[in-house]
Structures are given as C-alpha cells and as structure tokens.
C-alpha cells in the first residue's frame, strides 16, 4: 500500500519551486524573490563550499580521522537557502547534519568536526553565532527552539527562531509537542523539516500517511512544501515564514522536499535498503547544478568564476584537513570540566582522586 505517491523523482504539484532542475526561473503566485546576479553567485559559492566541507569530512572519516560523519550531500540548497534567510538576531536550532546552516552562521567548519572526532561534544558558543549546538537525540531541539521563541516573545525582540529536523523526527513526541506549544503560545518560530526521504533505512511511508507539511494544519498553523533542492525557493519561503513569525503571526512548518544522496552516516550502507535508480533520478535534480546552469545560461557568471570557486573549495578542504589533524586531544581531566556551572563536591573529589591516580604513573 503506497499512501504517499510523492516519493522519488516525481515532484508533487503543490511544491513551491522557483528554479527548475534545468536551471530555468519559474514564477510562483505566492512566493517570489528578486536576486541580483551577485547574490546568486554568492549562493552558488556557499553551495559549492559546504559540499566541499562535507566531502572532506567524509574523506577524513574514511581515513580514520573522524569517528563518524553525517553527510549533508544533496541537502545543500535546503540548508543554504534557509540559512541565508536568517537575520543575525534570529536563532537556529540544528540537528547534527546542518553543516550548511552552520556555514551561514559563521561557525568555523573545523569546529563542527570536534564532536565527530571525539575531542568534545560540541565546540562552539551558541550565543556567539545564534546557532545552537548539534542535537543528536532525534527531535529534542524542537522544544528548545519553541522555548527560546517564547523567550523572544517575552523580550519583545525583533527576531524569530528556526528549528531544523528531519522526516524521521516528525514521528517523535517532542516534535509534536513542540507544534502544540508553538501553536498555543503563537511562538515566533519556523519549523524547517528537511524531508530527505530516508530515516536511516526507513522510507517516509514508515513515518506518515500524509505529506508532512499537511501535519501543520491539524496543529493550527500553515504548512508549505518547498523544493528542497531549489535554493531560491528555500530562501524565499523561509524568509517569508521568518518575517511572519517576527511580525507575530506565529509558527509555520516548511517541508523541504529533498533527498539524502549519501548514506545516513559513514557507518551506514544504503545499498541494503534502496535502489540505485532512485539516487540516479535525484542526481538529475542536483541543487548545485541547476544554479550553475542558471548562472551560465543567463551569462551571470563565466568560467573564470566557476574556476575560482573550485579553487576556493580546494583551499577550504585542504585547510580543513590540516586543522582537523592539528586539533589537540583533550587532557584526561577535561571530562570533569563544565559538568556543573558551580563548584560540586563530588566532581572535585573525583577529579582530585583521578589526578592523583594518573600521577602515580608519572615516575
């Protein structure tokens, strides 16, 4: 029984799309965007660079330098489009795959590697970037995002919050509770669901009988499905939703219809559960190629531009690799730090005991 016929390469009619896979601009009655050529070139650069960060991280994992990596391959447009829609005052709550959003929030890519290399559980200050730490347990961050948005509301601040999650997370109680809270309190939040079709090995049919964006109506707020491989559409729709949220119109659910072109993580083997033809169909809808086609066809960029972006990507990858390998391992007593914010007798005692124990080996 197939309950959602929209899977695979066939886009459903209700999808907001502004740039076709062939790189043609199309109009949409509700959403449009006026992007100058330099803005499109800038988005293209973002897309290429985050794909390169991702590729380098996969390689680092394959060489044993990272314990694991969750690839964003295929989801660049959803992340760059939504990430570039944020203002500095807006706050983002990611899952563990939002490397593209981290890029938009000026988080140094090497800081993303810390938790995957095992030197920390999260290596950046969320307040510095208005980009929260990665959350690994599925969906938990959506409640944090709504609570944060309730704080924004109480501060009467001109800001909105965006909560990222995936199609698998849509089944979590916390995500559904976050919808209830956001709706009841009219919180200034955008729920950005990247439906990449696969929750590790489970297809969307295991999560939902209806397209995910339609879930929003039951909670009392709008839901929109956008072509998640179209960076223009992701930017336009997210920008509008954030604006509505800032203006007090409450939450919006955006379902970015995209595809996880790689494995769930570097430990996963998608050949066990999905057919190769599916990936091939989605490759034709690649989020970067269509922007390149658009720039090229409209003569908004020449080969020298594309070459320079490639060159920058090569440098970024090499720099990331060098700095990953140079990342210092934490000292053994680091585990006792920051468990509590105020002094704690038991932690102090155990730290001292373990330090003395280690000292015993020093001679």
């Amino acid at each position: 029984m197939t309950l959602d016929a929209s899977r695979g390469a066939q886009a459903p009619p209700e999808l907001v799309q502004l740039l076709t896979p062939e790189g043609e601009r199309v109009e949409h009655p509700d959403y449009d965007i006026d992007l100058k050529p330099e803005e499109v070139r800038s988005l293209y650069r973002d897309l290429v660079l985050v794909r390169r960060v991702d590729l380098e991280a996969v390689a680092l994992q394959r060489q044993g330098e990272l314990g694991i990596w969750a690839s964003l391959l295929g989801q660049e447009a959803a992340q760059i489009g939504s990430g570039r829609a944020l203002t500095d005052a807006d706050m983002a709550f990611p899952t563990y795959r939002e490397h593209g959003v981290a890029w938009c929030r000026d988080v140094d890519p090497v800081k993303l590697l810390g938790l995957f290399r095992g030197v920390n559980h999260g290596g950046w200050d969320p307040k510095e970037h208005n980009f929260h730490l990665y959350t690994i347990v599925i969906g938990s961050q959506t409640l944090h995002a709504v609570g944060y948005a309730m704080g924004v509301q109480r501060d009467d601040a001109n800001a909105a919050v965006i909560a990222y999650f995936g199609d698998g997370a849509s089944s979590q109680g916390d995500v559904n509770e976050s919808f209830v809270w956001a709706s009841v309190f009219n919180a200034p939040i955008v729920f950005f669901c990247q439906n990449n079709q696969w929750a590790i090995s489970e297809p969307l049919e295991k999560q939902s009988r209806i397209p995910l964006y339609r879930r929003a109506s039951g909670f009392g707020f709008p839901g929109i499905r956008v072509d998640g491989n179209d960076v223009f559409a992701c930017l336009a729709v997210t920008r509008q939703a954030l604006k509505n949220a800032r203006e007090g119109q409450g939450p919006v659910l955006i379902e970015a219809f995209t595809y996880r072109m790689g494995a769930h993580t570097t430990t996963d083997d998608p050949t066990r559960y999905r057919v190769a033809s599916e990936l091939e169909a989605w490759k034709l809808k690649d989020p970067i190629e269509r922007v390149k086609s658009y720039l090229f066809k409209n003569e908004f960029a020449d080969q020298a531009f594309f070459d320079s972006v490639e060159g920058e990507a090569d440098q970024l990858g090499a720099d990331l690799r060098r700095r990953c390998l140079a990342m210092p391992d934490p000292g053994p007593l680091a585990m006792f730090e920051h468990v509590y914010s105020e002094p704690h007798a038991l932690i102090d005692e155990e730290r001292a005991q373990y330090a003395a124990y280690l000292e015993g080996f020093s001679e």
Partner: protein, 326 residues
C-alpha cells in the same frame, strides 16, 4: 517569625524569587488560576501575570524542553511536575538535555532550571501519585538533586535552587505540605548553603540518615528510642547530589552505627550509595553494617497497603534494634 505551612513556604519563596529577578518564570500544568493541584503556586499568576506564570499544555517533555529553551534565552524557569509518577515523560529532556547540555557546550551554556516534583506517598492516592524517583536523578551527572523536609528549608532551598546556575531537581514531600512551622523571612543569616545537610537531632549511639518526608519519621523514632535509653542522631541530608559527605561521615564516625531511611525501594536506592560510601570511609569506626529501611521491591502498592510499604516509626526502630544486635 512567620508561621507557614510547607506549601505556603514554597509559595513565599517563589514569590520572593520572582520579585527579586524578573527572569524567573513558573511553568506547569494548572499552576495559574488553580495555583497547582497542591496550591503551591497559589496567587502567583494573579500577581505576576500569565507571561511569568505559564499554564502549559499537558505534556511533561514539553514543559522541560521549552524550559530549556527559555533558559537558553536568559530566563530562569521553575517547572512544576504535577506528581512524581508523571516525571517520566520528561525523563529524556531532563537526563539527555538538561543535565548534559552545559558540558556539551564546554561551559558556554548554563541552564538554571528548577524541576519541582511533589514526591512520596502517605496521602491515599491512586497509582503514580506516591512515588520516590530520586535515585534516577542522583544517578545522572549534571543535575543537582535536593529534598526539603520542613517549611523553613522549603522557603530557603527553593530560592537557592532558583538562583543556582545548575539545573536542580527539587523534591517536595507532599504529605508534609500542610505541616506548619515558624519561618524567619526577614533575614538570610541563618540560611545553609543548598549543598549542605543538617543534623536535626544530636545523639551518640546511632545515626539515622533521611531526607524529605522521612526526616519527621526519623525524629519520632529517635524520641521513642530515647525511652529505651538510646541516644539517636538524625541527619537531614537536604542535598542528595552532591552529598554532604563530611556531615554523614563525621556523625557515623562518632556513633559507629547508621541506618538510612527513605520511601523509595531499598534495592538500588539512594541508601545503597550511602551504605557503600560510609563503609568505605568509616570502616574502622563501624560497630555494625549500615542498614537500610525503605520501600519494597514492588511497584508502589494500592493505597490500602501503603502503610505496610512505607517506613514508619516501628520499622525504623526495628532497624535500630538490629543495628545494636551486631
């Protein structure tokens, strides 16, 4: 001096905290107009408004999850979990997020969230309304776990918990909510730090160690034992994580005997931790093994049986007798 019930003392403490700091919020089910099912937040919404005393949807994970978000934005939420047995839907947010996020952030994040939990039995309630889940939380690094036993401590400890930069699981002995005592609300000179316990009765022959609802039971047992010529010391731990170990060890080294009393099941209960630590640190002073009195290894029984499940004066005295039998 003002005479306050334990629930009113908590109410006054929260009121004071809200007056002192506009970032303090109250959240929970029915905490607004109703004032909570035990009336602990009575009148606070009327005086501080719906933005600061928030009636939430009925979902405990949502309460703690959104409280974390509010704390990330600079607020200091005080969450009420309506009954002990209802905390488990929030267990993931408490254990996986609230407790661990500060370390995850390498210290960039502080989460000053208080989770108030009315705990324990003795009120003739239906299932899930009489539990003592403290050991689940003392086992979780990153949480402070405290339990008040009397109105004066309730008044001070709730304010200290709210001021703490760390998340605090705050247990309230629901059967003692209506017990009254004098509380000095005019001075803070007498306040004890939140992570310190207190000897509530001096003695020389044996130490009873308790917290929350069992402190009063142990004091009654100590009075009864005096008639048998036994001098019983009673400690109110107040803080379970961290434990005020010097208080416990100093007492047991003097008396040579210890009995731990709690309502929670003895098996893998907090008393096991105490017994192990006392044995390690007071081995040469002990005259008898550390004994434990608590609930049985059964689910909390129907209320017609709770008098058999809950430690009472006689079960504590029986353990004291056993301790002297070695």
């Amino acid at each position: 001096m003002t005479v306050l019930s334990l629930s009113k003392a908590l109410n006054e403490g929260m009121r004071k905290a809200m007056e002192d700091d506009p970032k303090v919020l109250i959240m929970g089910e029915d905490v607004g107009k109703l004032g909570g099912v035990f009336r602990v937040t009575d009148g606070l919404q009327k005086d501080f408004g719906e933005d600061r005393v928030i009636d939430t949807p009925l979902a405990e994970s949502g309460i703690i999850g959104t409280a974390i978000g509010l704390a990330l934005r600079g607020y200091r939420p005080v969450c009420e979990i309506q009954f002990d047995g209802f905390v488990f839907p929030a267990a993931d947010q408490i254990i996986t997020q609230l407790a661990k996020m500060p370390m995850r952030s390498l210290g960039a994040i502080k989460l000053p969230v208080v989770v108030r939990i009315p705990c324990g039995g003795g009120i003739g309630a239906v299932e899930h309304h009489s539990e003592s889940p403290e050991a689940y939380f003392t086992h979780t690094a990153g949480l402070r776990v405290v339990a008040c036993s009397n109105p004066a401590d309730a008044y001070t400890m709730i304010q200290q918990a709210i001021r703490s930069e760390d998340p605090v699981i705050f247990f309230e002995p629901k059967r003692r909510y209506w017990e009254k005592a004098e509380v000095d609300t005019t001075s803070t000179d007498w306040w004890l730090p939140l992570d310190r316990g207190r000897p509530v009765r001096q003695g020389t022959d044996i130490t009873l160690i308790a917290y929350g609802p069992m402190v009063k039971t142990c004091l009654e047992a100590a009075t009864a034992a005096e008639a048998d010529g036994r001098s019983v010391e009673v400690l109110d731990l107040r803080s379970l994580n961290p434990l005020d170990a010097p208080l416990v060890m100093d007492s047991v080294r003097r008396t040579g005997r210890a009995v731990v009393v709690h309502e929670a099941p003895v098996n893998s209960g907090f008393g096991a931790e105490l017994a192990a630590r006392i044995t390690e640190q007071c081995f040469y002073q002990l005259e008898s093994p550390v004994l434990r009195v608590g609930g049985f290894s059964t689910p909390y029984p129907p209320s017609k049986l709770e008098e058999h499940y809950l430690p009472d004066l006689d079960r504590v005295l029986e353990a004291v007798d056993r301790a002297f039998g070695y």
